[in-house]
């Protein structure tokens, strides 16, 4: 790891336990600024748990987390979040534009209402994800991919330094996948750091330059070229044949 680059995220000894069984255990992680990082691992490896624990959304059993050297409480405005889209009720009575504007509520603070400026920012983000023709649509009428892009736009208006995305590529259409990849690269160009929980091993090396392999513990973390190897994948996935096959295909392509 490059020691000179400032760490966008630094995690030490992070542990989260449910009923004394660790969901993630003794996680040490240093993420340099400006990388696109995939968090990869089997089901139940604690990928989402890691993100939620880092963002203080669930109680930690142990460990410290800092963003650009500051604890979360002081770094909140630096952090953007895209939750799994299944985590909300899409029948909620509101429009696409309204959901995206919610990304600015944190900056507005108590009692202040969104106005023209917030509306324009939200529209700009919607343009970037290609939903400008759907701004007034009721969110229950969105396809899965459109929902995902709505969430992405909501995170974009936050104008954060470091983004956490929980399975943004899960079950989306091709257009949405393209839109997300495009956004990821734009974010990288603007020097942002992005951490993405990802499940598709085939695309890891195409989309990301940094990888963390996770299975309750961190198996390996670093530049994709060094870390995303068949041996590490085997350690992560416990030698399941289909994944191993993928790993070898990828290794052959190196």
């Amino acid at each position: 790891m490059n020691d000179r680059a400032p760490l966008a995220l630094s995690v030490e000894d992070l542990t989260v336990a449910y009923h004394s069984k660790p969901a993630i255990w003794d996680i040490d992680l240093g993420v340099p600024e400006g990388v696109l990082m995939a968090i990869v691992g089997p089901n139940g490896a604690g990928k989402s748990t890691l993100i939620k624990a880092v963002l203080n959304l669930i109680p930690r059993a142990a460990g410290t987390v800092s963003f650009y050297g500051s604890p979360y409480e002081q770094a909140r405005s630096l952090v953007g979040y895209v939750p799994q889209r299944g985590s909300v009720d899409w029948d909620f009575p509101t429009s696409v534009l309204d959901v995206v504007t919610m990304g600015l509520y944190g900056k507005l603070g108590w009692l202040r209402r969104p106005r023209r400026k917030e509306r324009d920012l939200a529209l700009f983000a919607l343009e970037q994800v290609g939903l400008l023709d759907l701004v007034d649509r009721q969110i229950s009428q969105l396809s899965g991919g459109q929902q995902q892009r709505t969430f992405l736009a909501r995170a974009l208006v936050q104008d954060a330094q470091i983004y956490f995305m929980d399975e943004p590529f899960a079950a989306v259409d091709a257009i949405t996948e393209r839109a997300i990849v495009k956004i990821l690269h734009q974010l990288k160009e603007r020097g942002k750091t992005v951490l993405v929980v990802h499940h598709d091993l085939q695309t890891v090396e195409d989309y990301f330059d940094w990888v963390t392999l996770l299975n309750v513990e961190v198996v390996a973390s670093g530049p994709a070229a060094e870390v995303f190897t068949p041996e590490n994948l085997q350690k992560t996935y416990g030698g399941r044949v289909s994944y191993l096959h993928d790993g070898q295909v990828l290794a052959a392509g190196d």
Binding site: P93, Y105, P114, G130, L131, D133, Q138
Partner: protein, 444 residues
């Protein structure tokens, strides 16, 4: 300030609100004529009280419905009963005191349920069920004890079980309105926060909002709404007046602010009209009457509301199946004819119907009346207009294919919509031009 033109849906919502208000006002003379209601001073007070309480519970109830906490409302209202009894024993029959007692008991129940959920593995329904039953049982036992005290038997605490609006007096109105103003003001002030935590708690938390605090505040407002409404509906039926207006309002609108306003109007209607009807005879309990009115509103909304209502959705399904039947029939005819020579080749009836039976018949009827096909004995043939329409459709599909393949390389705008629409209606003209150029470079 620039005034945005109102959308059709916004107009509909305001029309519905106006309609309900008119209906409520019309009810007064109709009630007089039909039921012989005399609008004495008492009845006027009761009706006004009922409407105000309806506004408060309707508005707050929307959040209970949207948070899937309708049954939480039920548990909290039942849990108010022991508070009423204890307050009476400690401080007498003053309404304000009784309601404060009710609120405290209900709020303790709320915190107890949260504590159970936070510290044990109990599921929400179990936690609510056990609290509802035990608090209510405690309340009933205390009421029975109070009845046995000689002086207290006339206190009329029974009215908290089923509600008795006739017991509302003018000084109560002041209390109810004052509390109502505070509650609605709080709702307006923290609107943004309430909306955010109701829609997406995780995101709110990650944005630095104090989700726990906001949740507690919102729940407290719901408790206040419940407690105020107790005189009207009683602890058993309170949940009805809390959630029915919200459920009805949800059918008419897709905006949270409209939903809350509409629910308040529905609540006022149910509360006012129900209270007036129950004033016909002292033996008619208010609570059940109000719930009957509110439930009628729910039924009417579920059946009739545009957008989500049953009538509307079945009509839309019909329109959809007509549209797709027409599209499919046209495609089938065109493909068959093309593969048998020219687009004008007659297509045997058995072939067309063989693929799509009823839907094919529906599609063919539409094409026939639009002049896109003609019959030739047992065959169908595309007319010139039909061939033109089929070509347009096929060309749109072709452009969609190219869009999917090359949109990225050509840096075309991203689209939200998909293939069932004509691509020329959704992409800007210059992008279509680029795709057209592509079709010339790559003929099928």
């Amino acid at each position: 300030m620039k005034v945005k033109p109102m959308s059709a849906e916004d107009k509909r919502v305001w029309l519905t609100i106006a309609g309900i208000v008119v209906l409520g006002i019309c009810f007064l003379p109709i009630g007089q004529w039909l039921f012989g209601i005399r609008y004495t001073y008492t009845v006027r007070v009761v009706a006004l009280g009922g409407s105000i309480l309806g506004v408060i519970s309707g508005a707050l109830g929307c959040f209970a419905v949207l948070r899937r906490e309708s049954l939480m409302g039920d548990a909290l209202s039942h849990a108010a009963l022991p508070g009423v009894a204890v307050a009476f024993l400690l401080a007498g029959r003053d309404l304000g005191v009784l309601l404060i007692g009710a609120g405290i008991a209900s709020w303790i129940a709320l915190r107890f349920i949260s504590a159970l959920l936070g510290t044990t593995r109990l599921k929400q329904d179990a936690a609510m069920g056990i609290v509802l039953a035990s608090w209510f049982a405690g309340g009933i036992a205390l009421l029975a004890y109070i009845q046995s005290i000689p002086d207290a038997s006339q206190a009329g605490l029974d009215r908290f079980i089923f509600g008795q609006a006739a017991a509302i007096i003018e000084s109560d109105l002041l209390l109810i309105s004052g509390a109502g103003v505070v509650v609605l003001l709080a709702l307006a002030l923290f609107w943004k926060e309430f909306k955010l935590v109701t829609f997406d708690q995780e995101f709110a938390g990650a944005n630095g909002f104090q989700v726990g605090l906001i949740n507690t505040l919102l729940s407290t407002l719901i408790v206040i709404a419940i407690v105020l409404g107790l005189q009207l509906a009683g602890v058993i039926l309170m949940v009805g007046i809390l959630i029915a207006p919200g459920i009805a309002a949800r059918q008419w609108t897709r905006k949270l602010n409209h939903m809350v306003i509409l629910a308040a109007v529905f609540g006022a209607f149910a509360g006012g009209v129900g209270a007036v009807i129950s004033a016909i005879d002292a033996d008619i309990p208010t609570g059940p009457m109000i719930i009957v009115v509110a439930f009628t509103l729910v039924l009417a909304s579920i059946a009739l509301a545009p957008g989500r209502g049953l009538l509307w959705s079945s009509w839309r399904r019909r329109l959809d199946s007509r549209r797709f039947a027409r599209q499919n029939a046209l495609r089938d005819l065109y493909r068959y004819a093309l593969s048998h020579g020219s687009p004008a080749t007659p297509v045997p009836d058995t072939f067309v119907r063989g693929i799509g039976d009823r839907s094919a018949a529906l599609g063919l009827r539409q094409l026939l009346s639009a002049g896109l096909v003609e019959t030739m004995g047992d065959n169908w043939r595309l007319t010139d207009a039909g061939i033109e329409a089929a070509r347009r459709d096929a060309h749109s599909l072709r452009l969609w294919d190219l869009y999917r393949l090359y949109a990225d390389d050509m840096d075309l705008p991203l689209l939200g919509e998909d293939r069932h629409l004509d691509i020329r209606d959704v992409l800007p003209a210059d992008a279509i031009g680029q795709l057209e150029a592509m079709t010339e470079q790559r003929p099928n």
